[in-house]
Symmetry: C2
Subunit: 786 residues, 2 copies
């Protein structure tokens, strides 16, 4: 039912995994399409907007976890009618839900495809995007697979929906061979007119072939038959209707006489526009000229640029497929779009760009400098990074969080490892709101000092209205509560930064931060060790939480993994906390973020406790937290624990697992439902949100951890940590302009890792003096598994 091909993942049922989906994006837009034909599309102007709307006035909001679908959910469909016998079905599957005889949903990297065959009529649909414009490029091919001539009508049907209560209308334009619907974005204050007047408030559907009829009026199209069986399809021809302050739809009709084996292809462009003239330009460019084909090619190239820096071959073919194709694509999506936000959260912006280090490090470099240019002279980082001149900090970025500084050295260290570009530390960058500027080195020093200063008398970091955990907003809003995790993360950041300082001959500074790291670890152990694991924090009222006596939120994952990273946990503590995590947090779908999930508001912890148990931060397998833990496990030499949990991030390979998660292995979602011990029925379900800080860390974990191919000042350190059930693995590694081939194999009589470069033993396992014109065939012998 599910099959991976070279470039695609195929699903052969529209009902087995109803929310199975893929996504495409470009510089201007994003579209998330499911196997049944429903779609969520947004474009940026510069804030997110729609051109295919719900049937009611939807809230302006981010994407919804576990996106609810419903009959009139926006989608792209083809109704097909056999004019000889009146039989109808719709492709891909919605809205008619006639189960086709053959069905394939095929998610590609630069397109999404369906093959739907029913009663010997084959419908092939392909969606792609151009590189730069917000629009969808559709191909629809109809093939007569029967032995007789067929008289077919097809009705491409694009949801336009409830555009606006102020003004919405639409009509077919003969001259443009397409439908244009117009609206006005609702507003009330004249000051807002300037904001809305340049918006692309039109939605158009252009066709390369002239339709025989059309319908722009959704009510007229549906009639009493409704969307599942539109009355207008009973007519010989659609009524050529228009919409005048009526819900618009874009439906075209084509009549085909197909001989046996014959096929016809149609192409459509669907998207937003500001004026009819813009639409005319698009028609000219895409259909009169050869822009359509060019755009498809250009887009394929654009996506292909999102190639990662490793290609792997392991005993796990599904892992290989995911890591070689889908993971770098998702990392690239984050790095290049910044989640289609004009004010990404600072921690997201930094971590998303940490992923970009492995794809286009120059973009990551620019992003780090951009972020630092918005740092305050105090060292504090803002809650969001403004990327557009008209943007402002919105929603969650108006709530003060205290963790943003820790990500600076953590993400930068990955950049330095990968690029060796220590020159970045000498770049001069301004501070925000003052005339002062300083080197990147000084910027990060200040960030570290800010973390040192933003602590209580015990030396624990204030949490204010949240740390990494956004909705943990009431632990410290009165000004006293502290974050155990943030104290630990600060210790780790100090350590990382100390190492960098030493590397760049700033030993004194490095020593200072090393001491701060040690001091922080002591404090953590003094105040937060609960006997078998670390507590999550201490509230405004001095109540330690995330501890054994809590009935809910008894153990938090982040507090454990980061204590491994920071070095706070000694061997004894490490073993205890590993056991606690396995017993209390591990599920078949990954490791949960906290347990037991809260079932009611805890007012001294906050909003996280009000989320549904097992969803999002309230006890889901929140993959961002999970990968922190996995990264820490590799750091701690726990390769089997690490790999077992890492593998659970990717749906499959078992069909049952994929069904339960409800998602194809084409992305890692921000969460799978948790609370496995409380609500097993729903555990494992994907949020279907592909925006997540997880993926950059997964990539880093593969490189630093599993395959052990991390850069150093001198070169590439080879130190794989394969799970014990793997005998071997091969990796193609692109690194600082050099291509390396690394073959790892377990061998008898090997006590520790042995690295051979072109047959020569490499003493310290570090490949040095890399030259782009050299060949790098590396054999790595590792000991047999115990």
């Amino acid at each position: 039912m599910i099959r991976a091909t070279e470039n695609n993942i195929e699903l052969t049922s529209p009902t087995m995994i109803p929310k199975a989906s893929g996504y495409l994006w470009n510089d201007e837009m994003m579209i998330h399409v499911n196997c049944r034909g429903y779609a969520v599309a947004q474009f940026m102007q510069p804030e997110p907007a729609k051109y295919s709307y719900a049937p009611n006035l939807e809230a302006k909001t981010f994407m919804q976890p576990e996106q609810p679908y419903y009959a009139h959910h926006p989608g792209r469909f083809i109704y097909i009618k056999d004019q000889d016998n009146g039989e109808m079905f719709s492709a891909p599957y919605e809205p008619m839900r006639v189960l086709p005889e053959k069905y394939t949903f095929s998610v590609g990297k630069h397109n999404i495809n369906w093959k739907v065959e029913h009663k010997d009529i084959l419908i092939e649909m392909t969606l792609s995007l151009p590189k730069k414009e917000a629009m969808e490029l559709w191909r629809v091919k109809v093939t007569n697979r029967s032995e007789k001539k067929r008289n077919i009508s097809i009705y491409p049907s694009f949801t336009i929906g409830y555009m606006s209560w102020m003004n919405q209308s639409g009509e077919y334009h003969e001259d443009l061979q397409g439908i244009i619907c117009s609206s006005i974005t609702p507003y009330q204050k004249y000051q807002d007119y300037d904001k809305i007047k340049n918006l692309k408030d039109k939605t158009y559907l252009l066709a390369d072939r002239k339709p025989v009829a059309w319908e722009v009026n959704q009510g007229e199209f549906e009639g009493e038959g409704g969307i599942t069986n539109p009355s207008a399809l009973q007519q010989d021809k659609l009524s050529k209707g228009e919409s005048r302050y009526e819900m618009p739809i874009g439906v075209l009709q084509y009549n085909l006489e197909l001989n046996p084996g014959a096929e016809e292809e149609y192409r459509f462009v669907f998207g937003p526009a500001k004026t009819d003239e813009n639409v005319a330009r698009i028609r000219e460019e895409y259909f009169i000229q050869d822009g359509f084909e060019q755009a498809e090619i250009e887009y394929a190239n654009y996506i292909a640029e999102g190639k990662g820096s490793i290609q792997i071959k392991t005993p796990d073919a599904e892992l290989d497929n995911f890591v070689n194709h889908w993971l770098p694509r998702q990392v690239y999506y984050h790095g290049i779009t910044n989640r289609l936000s004009t004010d990404p959260q600072t921690r997201n912006y930094l971590q998303d760009n940490m992923g970009m280090i492995y794809i286009k490090p120059e973009i990551a470099r620019g992003a780090f400098l951009m972020a630092l240019s918005q740092q305050k002279a105090s060292g504090a980082m803002p809650d969001g990074i403004i990327l557009h001149k008209d943007a402002e900090l919105k929603y969650i970025n108006q709530v003060p969080h205290t963790d943003h500084c820790v990500w600076l050295p953590i993400c930068l260290s990955a950049y330095l490892d990968e690029t060796n570009d220590y020159g970045i530390l000498d770049e001069i960058v301004p501070f925000s709101g003052v005339k002062e500027e300083a080197t990147v080195f000084e910027h990060i020093n200040r960030a570290m000092h800010w973390l040192i200063n933003d602590r209580d008398e015990r030396g624990l970091n204030y949490i204010n209205q949240g740390d990494w955990n956004d909705p943990m907003n009431m632990v410290g809003y009165k000004g006293k509560g502290v974050s155990g995790w943030l104290t630990t993360a600060s210790a780790y950041a100090f350590m990382i930064w100390a190492d960098i300082c030493e590397t760049v001959n700033q030993a004194e500074t490095g020593k200072e931060f090393k001491q701060e790291a040690d001091k922080s670890n002591e404090i953590i152990n003094k105040y937060l060790w609960d006997g078998n694991w670390y507590a999550r924090g201490i509230t405004d009222d001095n109540v330690v939480f995330g501890i054994s006596k809590d009935k809910e939120g008894r153990i938090f994952l982040n507090s454990q993994g980061w204590a491994l990273l920071s070095g706070a946990a000694n061997k004894e503590k490490k073993e205890k906390l590993l056991k606690a995590v396995t017993e209390q947090l591990e599920s078949p779908y990954g490791v949960e973020m906290l347990a037991p999930a809260y079932t009611k508001m805890r007012v001294d912890v906050g909003r996280v406790t009000q989320k549904h148990p097992g969803s999002a931060e309230n006890g889901s397998v929140y993959n961002h937290a999970a990968i922190f833990y996995i990264y820490a496990l590799y750091t701690a030499g726990e390769e089997d624990n690490a790999y077992r949990l890492l593998r659970k991030m990717i749906p499959g390979p078992d069909l049952e697992d994929i069904k339960q998660r409800g998602q194809l292995p084409v992305f890692i979602p921000n969460y799978y439902r948790g609370s496995y011990r409380q609500i097993p029925r729903t555990a494992g379900r994907s949020s279907h949100l592909f925006n997540t800080g997880t993926v950059s860390w997964v990539y880093r974990t593969l490189i630093d951890g599993l395959f052990g191919l991390q850069g150093t000042k001198e070169g590439l350190r080879i130190k794989p940590q394969l799970p014990s059930h793997w005998e071997e693995a091969s990796i193609q590694r692109s690194f600082r302009g050099v291509e390396l081939t690394i073959d790892i194999k377990r061998e008898d009589n090997v006590d520790s890792i042995e690295v051979y470069l072109n047959g020569e033993y490499v003493e310290d396992g570090v490949i040095k003096d890399l030259k782009s014109d050299s060949e790098y065939n590396i054999k790595v012998k590792i000991p047999l598994a115990k």
Copy 2:
């Protein structure tokens, strides 16, 4: 197809007028239900909230004009299945859309009813409300109308929908015999927790009879069959499912064995609650005790209190039915709920209470004092009146409008006419924001002076960001633009106030305002007369608009009618402007507010020009504006013109007219689509919004104009203005505690109106010295029509 009974309007097709609807309300909520089973319900806590949600995250917004319905629109349905043969249908009509053999939708004043008969199964559904709680009371009766025994299952199905992305779940409670779904209203800032923590975030469905099974999980219920044919109905029994962060629904299953002629009744309560304990209390009160029946009775009494002060019998039975039943109900709804707003716009609040004068004048009195207590010492009125301690001025009330003061004397004069309570003028009322207080008389003087002072050098009133016409927001936002209409309305207000001043022996003050009125009228004629009608205003850039040389927005209705009221228009001008209105603005569905409707933004007029042509303020038959004009026509002695337009406010009586309007004659909507000359296809369509300042003016127009039964200081002045095609009319008039019977008849040899009280000729036509123990049989002879 449409029939009026004593208390109801009946419609016998679910497809002929798909949006046909009725509404119910109480102190806490409002529900608008259509003939097919869809519903929009809101309750106040204190801001409007939902308990039956859309399938996606809807914007928090006011009701939508021409409410869009779609397959998963919230509704209340009964699926019916014949267990012997598997046949199914749904009542009232949605979601299955099986056309029943017999169907009646019957809108009552205190309940809404359906009778749906299909395959000899009769389903009767009745919706009522209690007086004080936000909840729906449902009765469902199933009758076997066939000659054989029938095995039936019914499945009451109540939409709960997408409650919240933060948290939503639901389950059946055996002990409560009902479904409770829980959610958390989404929020992000901890400061908002206090606002949401006491919200009624639960939705419950309680049953008086124990169901055999249930389903709380919408996805499970629908399956691949979808909402139009839910898969779960194929099972013998529903699966007793629950919802865990899944879209909930409330479905119960009952199995009935019905002998020929036998019937069974079921009752349900559906609504919002804060806690499970609240639901238990409701069950106890409504089902264990007899609260359900009591609530129905109490509610009928509550609605019955909304009786108007006239009962009429005219040659137009449909008019009689509307005026005797539906109009006062709609007026009462406005007066008692203030449109379920915590900060009604000042002009709406005053005019809605103007209607209440004819129903419960003591409430109107309180409202006038409330409004004046929020007046500034400068005389300025705020944009909205705060009715709840936690309320704040929202949306449109944050945009400054300049007309609010004019409504004070205009509405107060109706109150004085009706009650003779001149004592109100001596009430002491504070000003807002200062320690000062003053009599109502002084308050209104200041309001009038504010209008006099808020004028430009020519003496024209500034419009700022709008006058009565909210979206006319860019005529004067730079501080120079003026409103012709507001200048005229001020003249009328001064005149009205001058009359009141004279009546209360404040002749000097009266004279001053009379002079101001005259001066204003001169100014209007000087600057705004365009040759055949009055202009609407002059923009910031000194451009006169609403004039013959404008291609769009050439003529505005309000400028004409109010010039009749203010006396600005002399006989010649009057004739010209009447002709202009008839030719350019009158349509089969009433008189339009402006024409031609704007088809593109006019930046020196504003947002009104961006609304869809023919909708709302952009050229619809905006009934509020229309009734101003009609009132003015009566003032100007234009009884035939006035009645012709008045009659067009009510759908019907022709079926074709009702179908085009798409609305039953149970309320007057805020608009019917206009632009009859531009877009005839859609002209006449009702907005279905029953919140409108129209209805209080319709009531006043009937009393002051058509039937001429206006109060004076001495008593009741009888001065009817029947249309020439009426030979007679009879009215029961409740007035100052007295019941009067007035029979009006055209007679030969009568030159002017002759009034006879109990057979005695009344010289001046004023019935004086009213005593509640006297009988008042009044005969009015009027001349034959010319």
